[in-house]
């Protein structure tokens, strides 16, 4: 019997719940020890525009879902990832992570999703408030998602880093466009496949691959992006993005300030950083004659 020929996987990008190739037709060959691993899409400005549009269209319905529902959808991602561990293990090892560390990274990634899933319905009890204003008003502050958040994923933590950048952002109802690690893009696309299988509505997560220096500034300049979540070691590029972000006063969160590898990353402040505070005033009828007896 002849040896079975393996099917090789095509790594494409993830926009609006679909897996197109980049509209530019460009690619780069990812190699290890001179053996080609995959042809990875070099996305373009047009891909970024499509991704932002998809994220914007997804925002209303995702942010209007109940926190409980979002929490369960994120939990579902963890369930799917748990069942697809082997694929990620293979890819992490292909990309040069030793197997022990790869196993740890996958477990950590799954647990991290569960951790942040739990915050969906707990952020407001912790950070929202009822404000005792002096006048006769019921005054309260709640946190709401910002809108479309553009994420530049860390270079050297291809799975845990990307998950840690996306999950705390979408848990509150934001939608995202992420640029995957340039050197290690394989897990990012496989993660997109898991997400696409997990009841996450189309457009909530968009992931493109390609050259950060080319793509990231497009996100920073885009007038329909509300915030940037950055993991950038390249100081020049980072400064450029922070500068460009001022065009529509995008909020900029430096995700790399939190140590992604450590458990202390697991805190609600990163979720809060991608939310806006909204305060509502409502009059309370004042009735001087009414008593307040026990």
């Amino acid at each position: 019997m002849s040896k079975r020929i393996k099917i090789l996987k095509t790594y494409k990008i993830f926009i609006d719940g679909k897996f197109p190739r980049t509209e530019s037709g460009r690619y780069t060959q990812l190699k290890k020890d001179n053996i080609p691993l995959a042809n990875v899409c070099l996305s373009s400005k047009k891909d970024i525009k499509n991704a932002v549009l998809s994220a914007r269209n997804a925002f209303e319905s995702w942010s209007n879902k109940s926190a409980y529902n979002r929490s369960q959808v994120l939990y579902r991602i963890a369930e799917m990832l748990e069942g697809n561990k082997n694929q990620f293990l293979e890819e992490l090892i292909l990309q040069g992570v030793d197997s022990k560390k790869a196993i740890l990274e996958i477990d950590q990634s799954i647990d991290r999703i569960i951790y942040f899933a739990g915050w969906a319905d707990k952020i407001n009890p912790i950070f929202g408030s009822v404000n005792p204003v002096a006048s006769s008003h019921f005054n309260f502050t709640i946190l709401e998602p910002m809108g479309v958040v553009a994420i530049v994923a860390p270079e050297d933590s291809s799975l845990l880093g990307l998950i840690s950048s996306i999950i705390p952002v979408i848990v509150s109802g934001n939608t995202t466009v992420s640029i995957a690690s340039e050197k290690l893009p394989l897990c990012a696309i496989s993660l997109a496949e898991v997400i696409s299988n997990s009841d996450v509505p189309n457009g909530v997560v968009n992931i493109v691959t390609g050259e950060k220096e080319e793509l990231a500034p497009h996100l920073a300049q885009h007038m329909d992006v509300n915030a940037l979540g950055l993991n950038l070691e390249n100081k020049v590029l980072k400064d450029k993005m922070v500068f460009e972000a001022t065009n529509n006063l995008k909020r900029v969160v430096d995700i790399s300030q939190y140590n992604i590898q450590e458990s202390e990353f697991e805190a609600p402040y990163i979720v809060k950083n991608f939310m806006e505070a909204k305060t509502t005033w409502h009059p309370i009828e004042k009735d001087f004659t009414s008593s307040n007896k026990y």
């Binding site: 912790i126 019921f138 009828e285 009414s290």
Partner: protein
């Protein structure tokens, strides 16, 4: 508004074709054992008591009766689990077990809903759409808290209490079990839970789910029996906290029993909630809310809106709408998806309700009951309302725990606040008005733990629930449901 009151005619044309939920896939065991240390064990006394379907009085199964030695075993197993594996487990891992329970409840929701309806008599529509989904949601919600407690209590190191004894009522059997067990586990405690005598089955199905979730042995123990079993849990020296949901009378006696001990407690007791309709309210919506407020779950609801206060100017109109709406309620087989009002949970409860209905008539109120045929066999009570009720009537003061509404009127805001607060209870209240500022005024003046404005009987795991005054102390649900299970010294 014309003073001529029109009324709808009901002459049998409103019948629905029956749509009975199939029980073919449900197989109950012949007898149910005690769930202790991760295993189902026969009671040492070998005593069992029957569990009855209240809609036809047929025996569903037999339930083990736990006595002193069984309670010792359960408490010891909970103590060992607390001192052992469970106490040392990282919070993150604890969370995963609780998530598993939530997911398995969701998977089994259909059979749980059917059994809940068979055992308790509540309409399948309610067990399917409310009890079971809320039970799952409660576990899911509290699972997420397990590894986030430090954010709920800044500058404190929250620590579990130890072994908690939990005693729950028969009106929402599985949901009450979830309300009790989920926060206790999330905060790291171990549990001995006793369901109510008439509704033990779904708690034991939950025990099977807990086993399937591979929760370490002893973390949750579920033992069955009557009030005497509950007393043994309350008085057990190695129990650190009692969480009780039930009547104010039993709640007080538990508080007396533990008064000279260091045991902590939460009490979720009776109620006599005011549901207040102002003249500016959206009346159809308000009537819908009043119906849901008192007839939901046959009125077996501690927060039932059993006292209706209607502003005089709209009284006649509201009453007509209310009576019309009552006539469209379907009383009958709880397994029928059309049923609004199922069976009364037990013979005892039916006689309590009937006693109050007789008292209402005797004390001079006017009775109105849904004109409908009641099924043969089983325990039934048609939706009932009383008008011409005064503040001193028993039906306006005491908790009936049945489908009986006492209607009174008021003229001013001040008057209704006084009337509404004139009760030893303080669990909940409802306000119906289109004026937001009035709703918030009432919300601040009413002495109750939960205020529903232009809605009623809404529950959510994120929303704290519990009463003022003789309706108990402590809260269940939300952030406020955590501290009753924690030591924050």
């Amino acid at each position: 508004m014309s003073s001529k009151i029109k009324s709808l005619k009901y002459n049998g044309k409103w019948d629905f074709s029956p749509s009975i939920e199939s029980i073919e896939d449900i197989s109950l065991k012949k007898e149910y054992q005690l769930f202790i240390n991760g295993q189902f064990q026969k009671p040492i006394s070998k005593k069992y008591f029957p569990s009855i379907n209240p809609s036809n009085e047929q025996q569903l199964t037999k339930i083990a009766h736990a006595e002193s030695k069984d309670v010792d075993l359960a408490v010891n197993s909970a103590r060992n689990a607390f001192n052992g594996h469970w106490g040392k487990l990282p919070a993150k891992e604890r969370a995963k077990y609780i998530y598993r329970i939530a997911r398995i409840i969701q998977e089994k929701s259909k059979e749980l809903a059917i059994v809940e309806t068979l055992d308790g008599g509540k309409p399948i529509r309610e067990s399917r759409d409310i009890d079971i989904p809320l039970a799952a949601a409660h576990f899911f919600y509290y699972a997420g808290w397990a590894d986030k407690l430090q954010y709920a209590f800044p500058n404190r190191t929250p620590k579990p209490l130890g072994v908690v004894g939990q005693i729950i009522p028969w009106n929402f059997p599985l949901m009450m079990a979830a309300w009790k067990i989920a926060p206790a586990l999330a905060t790291g405690n171990t549990v001995v839970l006793k369901p109510a005598e008439t509704t033990s089955i779904t708690a034991l199905l939950l025990a099977e789910i807990i086993q399937q979730a591979e929760l370490p042995p002893g973390v949750v123990n579920i033992i069955t029996g009557d009030g005497s079993t509950g007393e043994l849990i309350v008085n057990h020296p190695d129990v650190n906290k009692i969480a009780f949901t039930g009547s104010t009378k039993v709640g007080k006696s538990i508080m007396q029993s533990i008064s000279s001990t260091t045991k902590r407690s939460t009490m979720e007791l009776g109620g006599k909630a005011a549901n207040i309709i102002f003249e500016d309210a959206p009346l159809d919506q308000a009537v819908e809310g009043v119906i849901n407020g008192i007839y939901f779950n046959q009125g077996h609801v501690c927060c039932a809106g059993s006292r209706l206060f209607v502003q005089e100017s709209v009284y006649e109109l509201v009453l007509r709408k209310l009576k019309d709406r009552m006539q469209s309620l379907v009383v009958g087989n709880p397994l029928d998806k059309n049923t609004d009002i199922g069976a009364i949970n037990s013979k005892e409860q039916l006689s309590t309700i009937n006693k109050y209905i007789d008292l209402g008539v005797k004390e001079g109120a006017d009775i109105f009951q849904l004109n409908c045929e009641l099924p043969n066999g089983g325990y039934w009570c048609p939706p009932t309302l009383f008008t011409n009720v005064s503040q001193s009537h028993s039906i306006a003061n005491e908790e009936i725990f049945g489908p009986v509404l006492a209607v009174q009127t008021f003229r001013t805001t001040q008057e209704v606040i006084n009337k509404a607060n004139n009760t030893p209870f303080g669990l909940s209240a409802g306000v119906w008005t289109d004026k937001g500022s009035k709703a918030f005024n009432l919300a601040s003046k009413l002495k109750a733990g939960v205020i529903w404005a232009n809605t009623y009987n809404k529950f959510d795991p994120t929303s704290p629930f519990g009463g003022y005054k003789e309706s108990g102390h402590g809260r269940e649900g939300g952030l406020h449901g955590l501290s009753p299970y924690l030591n924050l010294e």
